[in-house]
Each structure stands twice: as structure tokens, then as C-alpha cells.
Amino acid sequence: MTLGTFRGGVHPPDKKELSKDKAIAACSSPARVVVPLSQHIGAPCKPVVEIGQAVKKGEVIGAAEGFVSAPVHSSVSGKVAAIGEFLSATGRMVQSVVIENDMQEEWAALKDNPDYEKLSSEELKEKIKQAGIVGMGGAAFPAHVKLSPPKEKPIDAVILNGAECEPYLTADYRIMIERAPDVIAGLKVLMKMLGVSRGYIGIEDNKPDAVEIIKKAAESDSAIEIIALEVKYPQGAEKMLIKSVTGREVPPRGLPMDAGVVVHNIGTAVAVYEAVRYGKPLVERVVTITGESIKEPKNLLVKVGTLISDVVEECGGLASDTAKVISGGPMMGFALSSLEVPVTKGTSGVLAIPEQPIIHYEHFGPCIRCGRCIDVCPMGLMPSMLSVLSEKGLYEEAKEYKLFDCFECGSCTYVCPSKRPIVQFIRLAKSLVKP
């Protein structure tokens, strides 16, 4: 069997063995949740509750403002304790609603839809929008926006991203193993909403059991094809995934729809299914809590707004050698300065890792022009030049080397033998010049 692949990429140790065999378990309900009103690109939500107000689980607490926005729901039942700025995983202060949990787990009325398959594309889209569904791979882009491509961009396929190419993370893997029928059902809903007849699920080949189980679940449906992918980072990056699965290349600065496809995450597909089938809004998600410094790595179903400190406690706490705690994967995640930040719709993992020389470098050397970064750059850029130009303050010149085509996967920085902060230099340049 030939594996789908793309040019470039790196092979960091995947470390998935720490948590891959841990079945998804529900995380204990926390005493309070801090639900950020801005969990994605686009306009922040407007709070529609007041302090002291009683809310039910699944009740809207933040209304979407504008098209590129998704509403936010309460993930517990209880009382609104505060509305204000709270620290988020990205290090920014974000307006959030704090809810004291009454532990009653009382749901707002959900509209069950056993006949969801009869709904029209527009009706389905509206349900997704109301459910506050966003991309759960990390960027948390509102799902309904991706599902409403402009007329001049015909779409002929939906790809589900089961690559989970970030080391350590196993949340999508567990979902595929444990909830394969729901994944397929979600994919079918997505296909229907976009009116396409092709659905693909791309899964990295280090998860052969997931490939088998998903294949089995999709057996009866000839419109869905499962593609095993070569194991390498960033296989799950949209552009790389599209290339690996369909052979198409998204043009520079283009979007997946420019290649006629829409890509969604595995977790998103399940959330989509739950939204149209049970009317359930996105109030919880599967998070992998792992790393060498987590005492008992787990895959937990966590309520959005649960503080990472609570989630870490659920996994036995941090070992004394913990040096870094990361929200997301080790290649693109955010290092946390405090554990008192909430899990959001886009939190795929929480990692705690000890300090090792290969993880943390304070000093870096000159570029020795070895070309490793050029070889691994999935975008075909010359990161070495970009880093040198940025280091010297020649930001405008960096644009000649396609500065803005970099999507910051960090592969260059991973391989650099001089330990240069290449992608960091690139981010710096990007922030100082206009595209």
C-alpha cells in the first residue's frame, strides 16, 4: 500500500505510547469553569448573561458577533460568578464568563433529531452554527464559515484530518478507535452540507488499528475513502494533508477551497454529528493530558472552561521535574506560564515535559548553511535565509523569500543543528512588516 505524503517534513519521536492505550474517560466536573468568549479567530462573543444568573448546561452565554464567529455555551449548570478578563492559554487576557458549578449537570432543552438525515443543507448549517462548533484541531476556526464556501469556489471533497501528526497527542486517535461510527456519520453530514460526493479520512500510518476500524465503519459507503498517510510532521497541516490525500496543491496564500476541498478535524466531525443528531452544543472535548512529567497520562473528555490545573490534578498532578507545560502539541502548542487557564474548544492536549537539553536552548549559533531547514520545509521555503534576514532586521527583504507563505510549523527549528530559533525569527519578521 502506498502512503499519502508530501515533500519535506520531520520525524520527531512521537511519544504517543504514553497515552494511546488510555480509553477516553470523563474528567470530573470542576467546581467552576472559566469560559472564554473569544476562542477563535474572528470577533469575540458578546456576553448574554449577567452575574448571579442561573445557567443550564448548553445554554448560550456568549452570542456570536458577525459571520466569522461562533456562540459560546455554558459547559456546566450553575450560577454566573463573574464576567471579566481572565488569562488564556495563549498568554492574553480574554473576556470570560466564570460559572460556579452546582454539580447538577442540568442540560438546557436539547432538540433531538432522529431524522437529521432529512434536514436540508441550510438547516444543518444553522444547527452547526447554533451549536458553536469550531475546528477542534487547534485554530478553532468557526466550522460553519468553512462550510459556506463562495459560489466561485466549487468544492468536490471533504477531508477529515486524522493525521494527528503532533507528537504526544492521542485524542483524535482515541475518538477514531472508540467512536468510529460517529466520525463517519459526522463526515456524511459535512459532505451533505457541502453537497459533495467524495469524503476522505487521512490517518497516519502509525495508527494502523485506527485505519482498520475506520475502514470497517465506512465499509458500506463507497463515497468515503480512508487514506493511510506517511508518518511525518506536519502531515496534518491542511495544505500537506490535501496534497497527501488528493495530490492537489493549494496555491500559495490560498485556502483549501482553492483546491476544491474542505478539511475538518476528527473531533469536529463528531461534534457536528452530535449537534445535528442531538442538538448538543460544543461544551466538552477530548483532551490528551500527557508528557513525561504527567504522573498518569490520560485522554479525558473535558468541559470547556475547566482549568488546566484541575485537569492536571485529575491525572495525578505534575512530577517535580516539570519544566514546561504546553497547551497543544510540542511542535505548535503554547507554553503556559500558569495552570490557571481554561481548556477551550481548540485545546487538543496538555503536555508537561521535563527540561532536557534537546527541548530547551538558551543559546544558538550562526547559520552554517547546512540546508536541513530547506529540505524539511513543507512549504518549499528557505527558512535559513528568512532567519538570517530577520536576525539582521532586513524584514522587507525577507518578503522576497516568501516570508508570508510560512505557516509556522516549526520543522526548520526542529532540525536546525545550530539550534537557531528560525520560526521565531520568521514570526518576528511577519509581525513587523505588512504582507
Binding site: 520531520v10 519521536p13 495544505k239 492537489r248 496543491e249 493549494v250 496555491p251 500559495p252 482553492d258 483546491a259 490545573s309 484541575d310 492536571v312 498532578g317 516539570t322 519544566a323 514546561k324 507545560v325 504546553i326 497543544g328 510540542p330 511542535m331 502548542g333 503554547f334 507554553a335 503556559l336 506560564s337 500558569s338 495552570l339 490557571e340 503536555l351 515535559i353 534537546i358 527541548i359 530547551h360 536552548y361 549559533g365 550562526p366 547559520c367 552554517i368 548553511r369 540546508g371 536541513r372 530547506i374 529540505d375 520545509c377 512549504m379 518549499g380 521555503l381 528557505m382 535559513s384 507563505d405 527549528t413 526542529y414 532540525v415 536546525c416 543543528p417 545550530s418 539550534k419 520560526v423
Partner: protein, 335 residues
């Protein structure tokens, strides 16, 4: 929950993991890959070879150390690049040279060629080769006295002789074959390293073993060395014969002079060769072409050193001309 409240964590931007590869590890590995060639040089040319190499290495490292100390710069001798330069320079010298030859060469290589250009990563020319070029021009006599390999540490009086390329240039192929007693013998001696030449360039077997190690470790790729050797072989075949075209002996040219040492270990220097693969092919092909041009038409019997140095000059230009193609920019890529 509260026990982690006051804990401090490292905060930095992603990626949070790095590969284990380091510049130092690469430099030390390349040095290690040269050990077989150095050992064969020591075997054939005796203690004098060991002394020459040692002086070259020690002076190279010491020069870097003292310069950085004097200039109050960060000490970088640990990255192994000064040692590698010293080793390469030593391997590129005749065994018979007096002690001040490697000494002067190493200072020129490290101080003039590398450090004052900004240190590792900023030099335009291969330091060891500039050191050697400086020596060849400053001490033309001393740098072209070649000793007969003796395969023994015992012999004190070295017998001077000419290198195979020297014989080829001055007296022709017939004389060369006579010297070795037939072409089979010639190739065999050249493979083992039993011929006159610079200390580290003579043993093809040892050099190929080292190169194989570098390929295995992926420290070098085929692009530079194979285009180098390929274009040189082609030139040798077409123009290397006497009288008629297409009658030359490519193998002889591959195995003689510094062809293998230069193509696998010197032209592949990251800093002074192009960064993009297509550019590397052009760079290597240019090295091979210039080497053979000098060997066949130039005033020197050997051209590897000047060929690489000339192509080093062109590297920034090649780098500008050969950029990578951005993902998705190929024609008709979207569909």
C-alpha cells in the same frame, strides 16, 4: 490545585522539541570520517605526516581560541570546526614540509579566511583550501616536494618523487604506467594510497569509507560530490586522451590528486557551497569542470583546490539564482 500556583514554568514559543543534531556533532563526525584517510597517510608517509597534521590541528584550534580570547568573543572551539579545518589542511599538505608550513597555513585558514569574516557560517571560502593556496603561492618549492610512500615508520631518508598527476602532465601516460608497472598495478596502488601526494588524498579506499559514513549519517548528499566527479569524469573521458577525443581515462583522474578528498570532504562544506540542491549540482559540476580544465590545460598538474575556491566565489550568486519553489506554485498545481 493550589500547590502548582506558585510554580514557575519555562515559557517560550513553539516548537518545544528539537532534534538531537548539533553543529558540533556534525563537525566531529566529519573529522572522524577523515580518520581512515589520515591513518593511511600516516602509514605510507610515516611520523612526519602525523607531525604535520598535528601541528596544523593544534595551531588551527589555538588560533581560534586566542583570537576569541583577545577579542572577548564567545569561545567556539567546542563546535569542532577549527579542528576540522586544521585536519583538512594537514591532509592537504605534502608530508615532507617543515613545521612552519602547517603553522602558517593554519593561521591563514582560521584567522584570515574564517574569523575575520565573522567566524563559522560567514566565511566565503573554504578555510583549509585558502590556507593551502596561500602556502602553494608563498612556498611553491616546499609545497611541491613529494616523498615516495614507504609503507613503514622505520625509513628515515625520504625519497622524493613526482605525483602521478605531475608525471602525467610532464611526461605523459606511458611514463606513468611504466612507473607503476602497468595499469592494473597503478589502479591498485591508487586505491590503497601507495602513491606520492598530499598526506590524506592518496588512499581512495580510506576516503570512500569515510564518505560512505557521511552518506549513511546523511551529513552529505550526492548532489555536490557526484556532480563534481561526474563532470570531471566526463571531461577526462572526452578531452583527457592523447590526440583523439573520447579516449581519456576517467578512472585515473578520479583516483589521482585530491579529487576524492576534494569532492567528498571539501566541496561539500556547508558554509561555502550552495544551500539549494539544484544549486549544489551546478556547483559540483563547475568544480569538476574547472578541475579538469586546470589539469588538462592549466599550468598546475592539479586543479581541485582552485576549482573549489573559484566555485566558492560563485556560491552566493548560485544561491540567488536557484531558489526553492514555494509549495503550490507549480503550474496547474491546484487541480
Amino acid at each position: 490545585m493550589d500547590k502548582n500556583k506558585d510554580r514557575q514554568f519555562l515559557v517560550s514559543v513553539s516548537p518545544h522539541v528539537r532534534s538531537e543534531e548539533t553543529t558540533a556533532r556534525i563537525m566531529w563526525s566529519v573529522s572522524a570520517a577523515l580518520l581512515p584517510a589520515a591513518a593511511m597517510g600516516a602509514y605510507f608517509f610515516g611520523p612526519k605526516a602525523v607531525i604535520t597534521i598535528s601541528i596544523s590541528i593544534i595551531v588551527a584550534v589555538l588560533t581560534e581560541y586566542l583570537y576569541q580570547k583577545g577579542m572577548k568573543k564567545k569561545n567556539t572551539i567546542g563546535d569542532g570546526s577549527a579542528l576540522l579545518t586544521g585536519l583538512l589542511l594537514g591532509l592537504n599538505l605534502p608530508a615532507s614540509v617543515p613545521f612552519y608550513i602547517p603553522l602558517v597555513g593554519a593561521v591563514v585558514a582560521i584567522l584570515i579566511t574564517k574569523l575575520i569574516f565573522g567566524g563559522l557560517g560567514y566565511n566565503i571560502f573554504n578555510p583549509a583550501l585558502v590556507g593551502r593556496a596561500f602556502l602553494l603561492m608563498s612556498f611553491p618549492k616546499l609545497m611541491t616536494i613529494w616523498t615516495q610512500p614507504t609503507a613503514a615508520f622505520v625509513k628515515i631518508d625520504a625519497v622524493t618523487t613526482a605525483t602521478p598527476l605531475g608525471i602525467l602532465k610532464e611526461e605523459g601516460i606511458q611514463k606513468l604506467l611504466e612507473t607503476f608497472g602497468g595499469s592494473f598495478n597503478m589502479y591498485m596502488q591508487m586505491l590503497s594510497g601507495n602513491r606520492a601526494g598530499s598526506i590524506g588524498e592518496t588512499s581512495a579506499i580510506a576516503l570512500l569509507a569515510g564518505a560512505a559514513f557521511l552518506f549513511y549519517k546523511r551529513y552529505i548528499t550526492w548532489h555536490v560530490p557526484f556532480s563534481f566527479l561526474g563532470s570531471a569524469a566526463l571531461m577526462a573521458w572526452i578531452f583527457g586522451g592523447k590526440g583523439a577525443f573520447f579516449t581519456g581515462d576517467p578512472l585515473l583522474h578520479m583516483l589521482s590528486g585530491g579529487m576524492l578528498l576534494g569532492s567528498f570532504f571539501m566541496a561539500t562544506d556547508y558554509v561555502t557551497s550552495p544551500a539549494v540542491k539544484k544549486g549544489q549540482i551546478l556547483f559540483g559540476a563547475g568544480c569538476g569542470f574547472l578541475t579538469m580544465l586546470i589539469r588538462l590545460k592549466g599550468g598546475y598538474p592539479e586543479g581541485v583546490m582552485f576549482a573549489i575556491l573559484i566555485m566558492n566565489c560563485l556560491t552566493p550568486m548560485i544561491d540567488r539564482g536557484f531558489r526553492t519553489k514555494v509549495f503550490g506554485s507549480a503550474k496547474g498545481a491546484a487541480r
